[in-house]
Every structure is written in structure tokens, then in C-alpha cells.
């Protein structure tokens, strides 16, 4: 059984890369294949699934059914759902991507995919698509759970919320890539989890800034986590696009992207 069967003639005479049997699949197919591969890999990973879906869902149920911590004035479920959506974005775009990219770099996966027909740019686009797919799934699960628990969103704010989630995703992925491209994989694992827990507790994500001491509240306003939490609450509670949170996310995103593109190393 010969596994090389048809390209003998073409390769013997090939001095350039024009042999007709040996071309890359179209860019769209390569990117979609990689996005699908990454999405399925993430969904099959128990820890990732826990951080992406189970913990946010538990947080939502816990917040809605309990009376503390205080989420401020308004219906509890209406305050809780946007915060948990922000948490879901941070889990997937930041923690999940930082850890998986760091280990892919460590094990040479980024190098191998970089020299495959997919290429480096294709890999970046595919990763972005995989993150957005998982976020969409998170949105459906958390939003659905929220509705079941009595959430009354301002549907007018869906566009603003979507825009903030997109900008927030870009910002947090850039931050993830900045970490993953410069630190050792173990360091990224520890740091990404630490940052996730810190932002969860003190970053103005789930607990609105209005319920935090004023010093901390001012800091959280300038953090991407606080901006995303504030922005999503504003969108879904009042149907408005909040300018300052959007600006905070854009500035962080621009800085993180510039730094990441300068410092990212594809190999360990």
C-alpha cells in the first residue's frame, strides 16, 4: 500500500511551488477548520468548561437567590445578569486564551501551525472566531438562565451590550496574548487565574462599583473589568451605550495590542 501515489510526476519536475496537486485549501476553509478545532478542544476541556459556563452559572444563581453581597438599587437579577456576562467574557477571552496560548507556545504548537498552510494570521483569526463562538454560547446559557430567573433586560440595550462585549473581547484577548507571549506557561497559568479572581472580587465585574469603597471604586472605573461590568449594566438596565466605559476599554485594548504585537514570541 503506497501512500504517495499521485504526485510522483509533478514533484520530480517541480522547481517551484506550482504543482497543481499540492496547494493549500482556501483561506476561509483553513480558518474555519482551525476555529472549529479550537472551539471543540475548549468545550471538551473540563476545566475550561467549568470556568466558562459552570462557575458563571453558579454565580448567577447564587447572586439571585441570596441577599448579599449588595448589588445596589434595582432588581437583583437585573443587576446580576450583566455582571455575570462580563465575567463570562473575561473567563473566555482572557483567562482561557492566556492559558491555552501559553501552553501552545510552550509545546511548539504555535510554531507548527505558523508553518502550516494556516499560518500565523490565520491562527489569530481562528482563535478570535473560537472565542466569539464560545462567548455566544455563554451568552445564550447565562441569558437563558437569567430569563428563567426573572431577568427583564432592556432589549434596546442589546446592540450597546454586544458592542461592549466585542470591544471587551478584543481588549481581554490582547491582554491574554501579551501575557502568553512573554511569560513562561506556568507563570501564565498562575497569573491568569490570580487576575481572574482579583477582578472578580475587586474589579467591579459582578459587584457594581457603587457598592465598593470610593477609593476602590475609582480604580475599578479605570480597569477594563469595571468598564465592561458598568457598560453591560448600563446597556441592559437602561438601554444606553455608556461612553466612558467604552473609552476605557478602547484605550486598554490599544495599549495591550501595541505591547503584544511588539513583545509576542512565537516560540518558548
Amino acid at each position: 500500500m503506497k501512500f504517495f501515489s499521485t504526485n510522483t510526476a509533478s514533484t520530480n519536475t517541480a522547481s517551484t511551488n506550482t504543482a497543481s496537486t499540492n496547494r493549500a485549501a482556501p483561506a476561509r476553509d483553513r480558518i474555519l477548520a482551525q476555529a472549529r478545532f479550537e472551539t471543540v478542544t475548549l468545550l471538551r476541556n473540563g476545566e475550561q468548561l467549568l470556568v466558562a459556563l459552570v462557575l458563571p452559572a453558579m454565580a448567577l444563581v447564587g447572586l439571585v437567590l441570596s441577599h448579599s453581597p449588595s448589588l445596589g438599587p434595582g432588581r437583583r437579577v437585573d443587576l446580576a445578569v450583566p455582571g455575570v456576562l462580563a465575567l463570562a467574557v473575561i473567563s473566555t477571552a482572557f483567562t482561557g486564551q492566556a492559558i491555552s496560548t501559553a501552553f501552545d507556545r510552550r509545546y511548539g504548537v504555535l510554531r507548527l501551525l505558523g508553518v502550516s498552510p494556516l499560518g500565523r494570521n490565520g491562527l489569530l483569526v481562528a482563535k478570535a472566531l473560537a472565542v466569539l463562538t464560545i462567548e455566544l454560547l455563554q451568552g445564550v446559557v447565562i441569558g437563558g438562565l437569567g430569563l428563567a430567573l426573572g431577568w427583564h433586560p432592556q432589549w434596546m440595550g442589546l446592540f450597546a451590550g454586544g458592542l461592549l462585549a466585542l470591544v471587551g473581547t478584543w481588549m481581554f484577548v490582547a491582554l491574554a496574548v501579551l501575557l502568553a507571549g512573554t511569560l513562561r506557561a506556568e507563570g501564565v497559568l498562575a497569573l491568569a487565574n490570580l487576575i481572574w479572581v482579583t477582578l472578580l472580587g475587586l474589579g467591579g465585574v459582578i459587584i457594581p462599583r457603587t457598592q465598593m469603597p470610593s477609593g476602590l471604586s475609582h480604580v475599578a472605573a479605570l480597569l477594563p473589568s469595571g468598564a465592561l461590568g458598568d457598560g453591560l449594566r448600563e446597556a441592559f438596565m437602561h438601554g444606553r451605550l455608556a461612553g466612558i466605559p467604552l473609552l476605557v476599554l478602547v484605550v486598554w485594548g490599544a495599549v495591550a495590542t501595541a505591547l503584544a504585537s511588539r513583545t509576542f514570541r512565537w516560540s518558548d
Binding site: N17, D29, R30, D104, L112
Partner: protein
């Protein structure tokens, strides 16, 4: 015969370390070219320049007539790569991964045949993380061949394999060569170079210290003798 890979006067420094100092050699279609040399001789750096992973400071490198640095997807589709550290995602399973990599190509090799030839079926359901070194090695080789490349770079393809697996790999490498592919193998094994290579390139301290066919290179002596005399003398 056409040159599939040509490396001309390649130089590369990393800080104060000189990795390549005028490396020059070529590899042809339908031949196995073995690059032999001590650790730090510049084997991997040269191969990485040829794969487009690194850019040389000076000199010229052509793979299938193309500068590999930032070459496009159709070029990369013609070049197979087996990295020393494997480059396989830890949480995936061999067959799913190979099918996925095949999807990057318009007319890939038949994954089932490749899996069968390399005995990957026996551990197809195990995640890469849990495979032994030799098993990973076989998956990495399959990954390099899945696009039916015209040039393939194999970094120590049989390191860590048991004798049977090594023969399987050598058979597959010969068959790949016989299909017209240019196979470039880096190795520390004289046996591998002797049994497999049509052309042997011995490198030391960033340059070529000897090359040719086995008979041409060694004459009456053993490859091991020639290797040590070339790499030790040059080191003094």
C-alpha cells in the same frame, strides 16, 4: 536534477553567539539529505530559517525557489515540517489532529493509510499528553507528511524510537523520497545517516565541514571516523 533547498552563505547571530557562519549546502528532489553535527553546530537554526521560522542575518536561502521568510500558504502547503519538540496540541487525539491538519490542504495524503503505516491506530484514542515519546514522534512525522509535501524537514525523526518503529519510519522516509520529495533529516545517528541518506552534510560551528554521498565522503573510512576528525579538528 533541481535543487529543492539551497542554502548559500547563511549567517545568523544571537547576541554574542554565532549560530551560522557561512552555511552553504543544497538538497535535491528525490534524495534524502542528512545534516549531521554536534549540538550547537547550527543544524536547527538552519532548518528553522528554511521553514520560515527564523530570518537569517545575511546569505540566501531558497526552498522550492521561494524565500521561506513570510512565504504564502501555497508555499507552506508544499513544505512538511516535523519539529524537534513536536508542536502537537496536548489535549487533542492523534487521528482527530491529523484529519484537522489535512483539512489545510487541497489534496492531502490519506490519513487512514498514514495512521496504519505508522502504527498510530494502536493509540488513536489517547490524548497527545499521555503518549510516550516514541508515539508522539510518530504522530509528528505523520503531521509532517499529511500534506504530501514536496520538501519535508524532519528534525531527529527516530530519536527515542524502538528498533521496529525505527525501521517503519525509515521505510516511510524512503518511500517519501522515492515519490520525488526532498527529505531533509537532521540526526545524531551515524546509522541513520548511513542507511538513509543519499547526501550527507556535516556541520560544525555554523558552517559545513564536509559533504557528499556516503562513499564520496568516507572513502575507506567509517562515517564515524570521518565525522569525528572533521568536527574535532575544526573545534580545535
Amino acid at each position: 536534477m533541481t535543487e529543492a533547498v539551497s542554502v548559500r552563505d547563511l549567517a545568523k547571530r544571537f547576541g554574542a553567539t554565532t549560530a551560522l557562519a557561512g552555511m552553504t549546502w543544497a538538497a535535491r528532489h528525490g534524495q534524502v539529505t542528512a545534516v549531521l553535527g554536534p549540538n550547537g553546530a547550527g543544524k536547527t537554526t538552519t532548518i528553522e530559517c528554511a521553514e520560515g521560522l527564523q530570518r537569517p542575518d545575511s546569505g540566501e536561502i531558497r526552498v522550492l525557489g521561494t524565500d521561506p521568510w513570510q512565504a504564502g500558504p501555497d508555499h507552506r502547503a508544499c513544505v512538511g515540517v516535523m519539529l524537534q519538540d513536536g508542536g502537537l496540541p496536548n489535549s487533542s487525539r492523534p487521528v482527530r489532529l491529523l484529519r484537522h491538519l489535512a483539512a489545510f490542504h487541497q489534496s492531502p495524503a490519506d490519513v487512514d493509510t498514514l495512521v496504519d503505516r505508522l502504527g498510530i491506530g494502536a493509540f488513536s484514542g489517547t490524548t497527545i499528553r499521555r503518549l510516550s515519546g516514541g508515539q508522539k514522534q510518530r504522530v509528528a512525522l505523520a503531521a509532517a507528511l499529511v500534506g504530501r509535501p514536496e520538501v519535508v524537514f524532519l528534525d531527529e525523526p527516530t530519536a527515542g524510537l524502538d528498533p521496529h518503529a525505527r525501521l517503519d519510519v525509515w521505510d516511510l522516509v524512503r518511500e517519501t523520497r522515492d515519490s520525488g520529495c526532498a527529505v531533509i533529516v537532521t540526526t545524531h545517528s551515524f546509522e541513520e545517516a548511513q542507511r538513509l541518506a543519499d547526501h550527507i552534510v556535516i556541520v560544525n560551528r555554523g558552517r559545513v565541514v564536509g559533504q557528499g554521498g556516503l562513499a564520496e565522503l568516507t572513502g575507506e573510512r567509517s562515517l564515524e571516523d570521518v565525522y569525528f576528525s572533521l568536527t574535532r579538528e575544526a573545534a580545535r
